[in-house]
Structure formats: C-alpha cells, structure tokens
Amino acid sequence: MNPFNEFSLRIEPRGFVQTKNQILERILSIVVALIAGGVILALVGANPLTTYQAMVRGAFGTINLWMHGNFYHIGEILVKTIPIMITSLAVLVAFRMLFWNIGANGQFVFGALTATYVALFLFNGNAVMPALVYLTSMLTAGFVAGALWGLIPALLKIFFNINEIISSLLLNYVAILFAEHLYYGPWRDPEGMGFPGTANIPEAARLPKLFGRVHYGLIIGFMIAILIWIIVEKTKWGYEIKVIGQSAKAARYAGMNLTKNILLIMVISGGIAGIAGTTEIAGLVYRLQQGGITEYGNTAIIVAWLSNLNVWISIGLSFLMAALMVGGNQLQITMQIPAAIALVLQGLILFVILMGEFFIRYRIRLVKKEE
C-alpha cells in the first residue's frame, strides 16, 4: 500500500499564537538550525561541537580575552553591524508602507561611489580642507545619490505601475556593475599595481574611530535609528506610512496622497541606504573596490523582515547577523574549513530561522484521506 494514497499533508494557519510559544518556537528553530548545520559539518569531516565553539569564539572572543581588555572580536562584529543596521533601517521604513524596496544594495553602492567621488575627485584630494567639510559633503552626496537611485523604482511604479520588487532588484545589478566599471576603469588607482579599486580617500575624508576599527558610523546609525523611530511613532507622516501600509484604499479614503508618500519614502529609504554606503567608504574601506560594498543590502532585507519592521529589534538582529558573518569568517582561519562551508552554514541557519517564522504562523498536518 502506498501511504501517499491514504494520507495527505495540509497547511493551515494557526491563528493567534501566544508570545511565550512564539519565543519557544524561535529558540527551537535555532536549535534545529544548529543540528542541521552539524550534519553538514560532520559530512565534510569537521567536528560540529568544536566548530560551533570556534565559531562563537571567533565571533565574540573569549572571557579570557575580555578580562585582558581585548575586545577585538566584538569590535569586528560592530564594524559589520554598522552597514547591516543602517541599511536595514532604510529597508524597514519602506516596508512599513508596503513599498518593497529590494534595491537597498544598489542604493548602498550608489551612496558609496558618490561619496568616493566627492572625496577623491570633487575636492581633488585637497588635504588641507577641514574634515567637517569633507564628511558633511560626502554624507549629503551619499544621501542624495541613494535617494535618486531609490526614486527610480518609485517613479516607475507611479507612472507605469511597474512592480517595484522587480525594478529595484534589477537596478541593484546596474549599480553594482556601474561601480565595477568605475574602479576597473576610469577611477582605478594608477598606483594600485593593477588592483581593481580606487585610490584611498584623503585622511580628512575619513570618519574618526570610536575604538579599534569601530568608526563613527555606529553613532550615525543610532542617530538614524532614533530619527526613524520618531518619524514612525510620533509624527503625522509616520501615521500616514502606517495607514498606507495597512490599507492603501483606506489611506486614499482618508485623503492621503499616495504618490507623494511613495516618492518621499523612497527618498528616505534610498537616502539612508546611501548613507550606509558612505559610512562604509568613509569609515572602513576608504576606497571603492571589489567586495565590501555589495554584501549587506540583502542581509539587511532579511533583518528588517525578521524584526517585524521594528527599529530596535532590527538593530539587535543586525548585531546577531554580523556575529554570524564574523564567526563564519573566523572558521576559515581557525578550523581550516573551506570558506564555502562557512557560507553554507550561515545560509542554513538563516534558512531554518525563516522556516521557523513560517511555522509560527502555519502548521502542517497529516490527514487521512476519506473515501
């Protein structure tokens, strides 16, 4: 007898789920993720337990290191937290209005390349200009560039009703390849010995450090978070965003201008993503180059979505996601595990957590077929 003839699987909404159970379910999904990851590790011949231990150590360091005032690892997490956090705030604000800005990556890149342009070429690498002038003009330019890039899907949506998910996603590739063209071509550092990347930006154009490699982008990120929180929770505009996000029909009925709001939200969303790109250039990598500017936009979308579009939760998740990245990178060094396996592990953990979110809302039942 074929059991598939007698039974079938059915997906059902769970309805109201208690907060306590939701938390339990999330913990459970992390455990499942670790077990699944363990299987993969065992398959490539690594000891799952020691690997996880190495991953945690790689991400957070050890108590022994902390006792000696060595917070290098935490610092590395924070360095990665900054772009994820700022970009997830950018995404979150648009998602709140149900405008699916998948193009944070592209807006990030445009912010980064514009900031580089300002630092390297607009002021002609002028070393005597005060840092304040450099940084404010870079941040402004980064914001404007991200905003303009973000406006493209908004305008396409408004005038031609083109799905913003598709257009913003495709514009990512345009932005990334355009940046590539610049640092391989016209902007390539002539003294860079063939390395694809621009020259370093002048000292005055760099964001100061808080400690270690952690730069002032962290402060900028928290300022943006507070600003977004105030906008979303306290202002008339935040109310409009909420209403439009819940029901465009009701928003129109209440006299809200949807066109104006879509344009505004994408200026803010794209602009913030642009600032994320700017702080990454000005605070960490100091030049436009291969890698380092395209790996955060998509992570930020996951973070924003998992946070349930909550500003503070998204910051916490950005930190955890950064820890996962740092811990994974450390594996290559300490455990001699191939880089690809670390990425597989990261992907797997995210995947199971996302699946857990599904199971919080739905259940699957095995039902016996009736005659």
Binding site: W237, Y239, S247, K249, G255
Partner: protein, 510 residues
C-alpha cells in the same frame, strides 16, 4: 429525538467559545434535523456566526461536543467540515474573479484525479443545475457576475460535493426581492431531499417565510428553539433583544432649504473602464435625505466614490454648497465638509489591524489639537478617542484591540463617530446598516435622522428598501448607471421600486 421522532442529524452539546475574554458562545445545546430549515436568529454579536463557524471548521470550540449522525466528530478545519458534508455559503463568497464559474465550482477539489475531464464535470454540474432549477452561466468570468449569481454558484459548488448540511450566513443581505424568492425556492427543494439547512438571519419576515424551526440567540446564549408555526413576531423580537425597542420619533419637515449637493450630467467609468455612471443628475437640499435604491453593482459605488473624490469623472460636474468639487482630491472633498460612510467598512472605512484610536483620527490627524506641526499629540488623541467612544457608545474590550476584531455594529459606530464628529454639511452613507443587528441599525437610523434635523444633507445608498422607505424624503432608483425614477418616499411603493430596480419597467420607460 424530537417530537416527530426524528433523529437529530447534527447536534452540538455544551459549546463554549470566547475571544480574548469576550464570550461568544455560552454553553450552547442545539439539534439540527435532516429535512429541516432551521433559522438562527439574533442580533450581531449574539454568537450565531461563531456557532456556525465552529460547525464549518473555521473556529474550534473551547469546550463542547459536536455529534454528527450519532458520532462524535472533531472539525479542525473547513476541509474537515467538507469531508463530513458540512458546507457554508458565506456572505462574502470566496472566489477567484478571473476564473469562470465552472472553474470556481471545481476549485479546491481534493479528490479529483490528476487529469480533469472538464466535459464530464460540466455535465454533472448541469444535471445539478437542472435538478434544482438553478440558472447560471458556467463559462463567464465570476468577477462580472452579480452577488446573487455568485451565491447560486456557491450553492452548486456545495451540492456538487454533495453536502448534507448547508449553512447560509445572512444570504439575503445583498439580494433583490426577486432574487430572495428564487433563493427560497432553491432552499425549499434542498430541504425536500432531506438535507439540513441552517439559515442565519436577523430579518424576522424571513424566519416566517422559510424556516421550520427557529433558534434565537442573544449575547452568546441560546434563548429558545421553537417551531416557527408556534411562535409570533413579538415573541421573537422579545427574545432577540430582551427589551422593547423605543419607537422611532416622527420626522419633522425642515423649512429652510438650499441645495447642498448638485450633480449635473455626470459620467464616470468603473474599474474595468466601462461607463458605470451614465448621465446622472441629482440635487439634495439641506435637511433632506435622498435615498438611492438599486441592486448592488448598478453604479452606486461609483457614484459615491465620484463624489468623495476617489474616482475621476468623465464629464459633468459635482457641486457641494456651490463649490465645484468635480474630480477634486479626496482631501479637498473632506475639507469641504463631506462625510463619507463607505459600504466597504473593513477595507475602506476602517483599517482593520489598527486600534480604534488610529481609526478615529484618520481624517482629522492633520488638524489641531490632534497634531501640532509635524507631530501627533498623543494626549489629545487619547482624549478625542475616549470622548467619541463614550459619545457613540462604542464597546471595546480593550483600548488597543484591532478594530477588525470588534463586532460589526461597533465597527460601524467607529466609522460614524469619526465621520459625524467632523464638521460637515453633506453625508454620504453607503449601506450604513448592512450586516448590523436591529439595535445597531436603529442607532444608525437615529443618528442619520438627527443629522437631517440639524440641517444636514444626506445621500443614503442602501439595498434595504425598508430602510430607504422609512428614512428618505425622496427615493431615486438607479439601474445600470442611470437614475430611472425619483419618487417622494411617502408616495412610494416597495414593489414598484423593486420593479424599477430590476428594470422590469424598462418597456414602459421607453
């Protein structure tokens, strides 16, 4: 066992169900027999919908048993109910507009083979249609059909799956008088075959015209089940509301009249780009209620949307207090003193996932004291909310509960509180009492009449003729986007209006 010695087909024993502490069903014991039409009567929030949704597997009871043909059953999902032969015709029929009627009927069939032989299916369906004398086109896209036809499609869908127990949730809400008669015929023939019919309603005359037995529910409890033949209207009302309703006060005629709303030569299209308003001319004066009678889908919605600035106009003009508002923005219309109570309460009039306070400030959040400069003033919002909740007797279990979880009556009170507390000279009320119970309906009627007394002009769109006749000063009948006739309400005759609504008078018109 009942008096006729029949065995109960479906029984519920000791059903309890509550939502967030609000009791919806309190220890319900009830038997439904085969071959009977069992009316469930009660106000909105009385718990009848909850009870049948438990039977249909949409909700699960907190306590209690369901017994089908003498066997205890668990109904965990609508699909379980389906397998047990319990089907429900909802008020809002679940359908895919871009599918044909036939495709919608076979939609979701689990036991169909991998390949579907449409011509066999079609033949089977035609047999059912023939047997019950239900006429519907099978190859037409569902989105183009009236609600009455969609409802008949749903009935065929249930019959095709051979449901033994059919639940109808206020099926007549959207139907014309003629369609109601057809529906009753169909239900009678289902009964003759020995099927069990559970018929939810809050209309007394329907109880008497169709049901064999009637169970009255009030505030979550079952008051009594009796044979329809052994009961009368007064007792039913008494059981339903538990106290006597106040009689409606007499309508005073206003003396000072000036036109508030003037519509001239208006043309507008519907969402499909087809002309839906075809040369409409209307005037409403201050202190006047103009009723629009018509079967849903004849341009009423397009008309109200055009006035509210939500739909662009092809030609013609709309004046409110002499100010031209043709194709004005919704915001400008609001600021010109037009209040709008839309038919689509949950999608347009309210934001279902947001709490009452967010719903009450939808139109005045731009004004002082609700907001100052860029910022909302949460203290003023709270004050505004508590004031309106008290003034309009909105009952909410919890301040932050989403408005979508309130009963229909309370939802409508939220809309009314918002629309009537704003400064206004014109009120557009579209189906203001649809789905509401007697008491809530009464309350809405009182509010509308008192607005009229204060000199407001009211455009009342309703598919409930009785409502139009009892409230309106004049009644305009709309059919296929044209106003067919305008009559003084006191001289109007329901049957005559019904004929205009369905264009039975078309030949005379020409």
């Amino acid at each position: 066992m009942n008096s006729r010695g029949e065995k109960a087909m479906l029984s519920v024993r000791g059903i309890n169900k509550s939502f967030m502490g609000v009791v919806a069903n309190n220890n319900i014991h009830l038997d439904f027999h085969s071959g009977e039409i069992h009316a469930l009567l009660g106000e909105n929030g009385a718990g009848k919908s909850t009870l049948v949704k438990i039977l249909a597997g949409i909700y699960q009871p907190d306590e209690g048993k369901i017994i089908l043909n003498g066997v205890d059953v668990k109904i965990n999902s609508p699909l379980d109910a389906f397998y047990l032969g319990i089907g429900m015709v909802h008020q809002q029929i679940a359908k895919i507009d871009s599918f044909t009627v036939l495709e919608n009927i076979i939609l979701g069939m689990r036991d169909s083979p991998f390949t579907l032989n449409l011509s066999i299916v079609k033949n089977d369906i035609k047999k059912i249609m023939h047997k019950y004398r239900i006429e519907i086109p099978l190859d037409v896209k569902v989105g183009d059909l009236s609600i009455g036809v969609q409802q008949r499609m749903e009935i065929i869908r249930l019959l095709y799956r051979n449901m033994k127990i059919l639940i109808f949730d206020e099926p007549s809400s959207f139907l014309t008088p003629q369609e109601v008669i057809q529906l009753e015929d169909i239900i009678q023939s289902l009964k003759k075959e020995g099927r069990t019919i559970i018929y939810i309603t809050h209309k007394l005359q329907e109880v008497f015209s169709i049901s064999d037995r009637v169970s009255v529910m009030r505030a979550g409890s079952l008051i009594r089940t009796s044979k329809t033949a052994e009961i009368n209207e007064e007792i039913l009302i008494d059981m339903m509301i538990g106290e006597k309703l106040p009689k409606r006060r007499l309508i005073k005629k206003q003396t000072d009249h000036h036109p508030v709303l003037e519509i001239r030569d208006l043309f507008a299209k519907n969402d499909l780009g087809i002309i839906a308003i075809n040369d409409i001319n209307l005037t409403i004066e201050s202190g006047e209620i103009l009723g629009i009678a018509g079967v849903a889908g004849n341009g009423q919605q397009e008309l109200t949307e055009a006035i509210a600035g939500l739909r662009s106009v092809q030609s013609g003009c709309i004046l409110v207090n002499g100010e031209e508002l043709t194709s004005a923005s919704p915001l400008r219309v609001i600021q010109s003193g037009v209040s709008f109570i839309p038919a689509d309460r949950l999608m347009m009039g309210l934001i279902r996932n947001l709490p009452v306070k967010d719903n009450l400030i939808m139109k005045n959040y731009r004004d002082k004291p609700i907001s100052r400069g860029l910022f909302l003033d949460s203290a003023s919002i709270h004050q505004h909310t508590t004031k309106l909740i008290e003034e309009y007797q909105i009952r909410i279990p919890q301040m932050n509960i989403p408005v979508g979880l309130l009963s229909g009556g309370n939802q409508q009170k939220v809309v009314l509180a918002r629309e009537l507390s704003a400064p206004h000279t014109l009120i557009i009320a579209e189906q203001p009492t649809r789905g509401l119970d007697i008491r809530a309906t009464e309350y809405v009627h009182d509010l509308i009449l008192s607005e009229r007394e204060k000199g407001g002009a009211i455009l009342l769109v309703s598919s409930d003729l009785e409502e139009l006749l009892s409230l309106s000063d004049r009644i305009a009948v709309i059919f296929e986007g044209k106003i067919r006739i305008v009559v003084q309400a006191e001289q109007a005759d329901a049957l005559e209006i019904g004929k205009w609504m369905t264009a039975k008078n078309r030949s005379e018109e020409k």
